[in-house]
C-alpha cells in the first residue's frame, strides 16, 4: 500500500512537471502576445 502511495505521489509530481512543460511551450506565448496587443497605456 505504501508503495502505491509513493507511486501515486511521484506520478502526480510528474504530471505537474508535464503541465509546467506545456505552459512553457504554449502558455507563455499567449501571455507575451497579449502584452504586445495591449501596448503601453496612454
Amino acid at each position: 500500500m505504501a508503495i502505491w502511495a509513493e507511486i501515486l505521489v511521484l506520478a502526480l509530481v510528474t504530471y505537474a512537471i508535464g503541465i509546467g512543460i506545456g505552459w512553457a511551450l504554449w502558455g507563455r506565448q499567449i501571455d507575451e502576445s497579449v502584452m504586445e496587443q495591449e501596448g503601453p497605456e496612454e
Binding site: 508503495i3 509513493e6 507511486i7 511521484l10 506520478a11 502526480l12 510528474t14 504530471y15 505537474a16 512537471i17 508535464g18 503541465i19 509546467g20 512543460i21 506545456g22 505552459w23 511551450l25 504554449w26 502558455g27 499567449i30
Partner: protein
Amino acid sequence: MSELLQANWPIFLVALLIGIAVAWFVFVATRRTRVETTKGDTLDEGADRAARNQALIDAPPAARKEAVPVPPAVPEGLAGVGAAVAAAVEDEQLEHAEAGHSVQEETADDLTRIKGVGPKLVELLKSLDVTQFEQIAAWSDADIDRIDARLGRFEGRIRRDNWVEQARLLADDDMAAYEGKFGKL
C-alpha cells in the same frame, strides 16, 4: 526511490505525457480569439461629444463656392452720371478697336509669300500695322527708310529682297511676272 522510478517508469512517462496534453488543451485548444475594437469611429453616436466635434473640425473643408463677382456700384444721383457716360464711351471705343482689328485680320495678306519675309518679320510688320501687299507696294524711299530702321536685325532686307516690287506683283496677282522675276513661290 530510484528503484521505484526504474521499476515503474512507464507509469511516470504516461503521467508526464498526460500533464503535457492537459497543458496543451488548456493553453492552445480552448484559446478563443477575441476581437475587441477599443477605437471606435469618432463620429459614432456613442462617441464622446468633444471628440466628435473635434473630428468634424479636423475634417477637410467642403468645396468652396466660387466667389460671386460683385457688380460695380451703380452711381447714385447726378454725381455718377459723368463716370457712367465716360465708361460707356470707353466701351464703345474698345468695341470699335476690336472690330477694326478683326477687319484688319480678315483682309490681311499672307506676307510670307514675299521672299525674304518669314513669320517673325510678319509679326514685326503687323506690329507696325503693315499687313497687306498694297501697303508695301506703296512704300516710298522715305517709308522704306522709316520701316527699315524699325526692323532691327532685319535692317536692309527691304531693298535687298525688293519687297516693294514683290508686293506690287502679288497685290496685282501677276504670278507669271512674279515667278519670272523672283522665281517660283
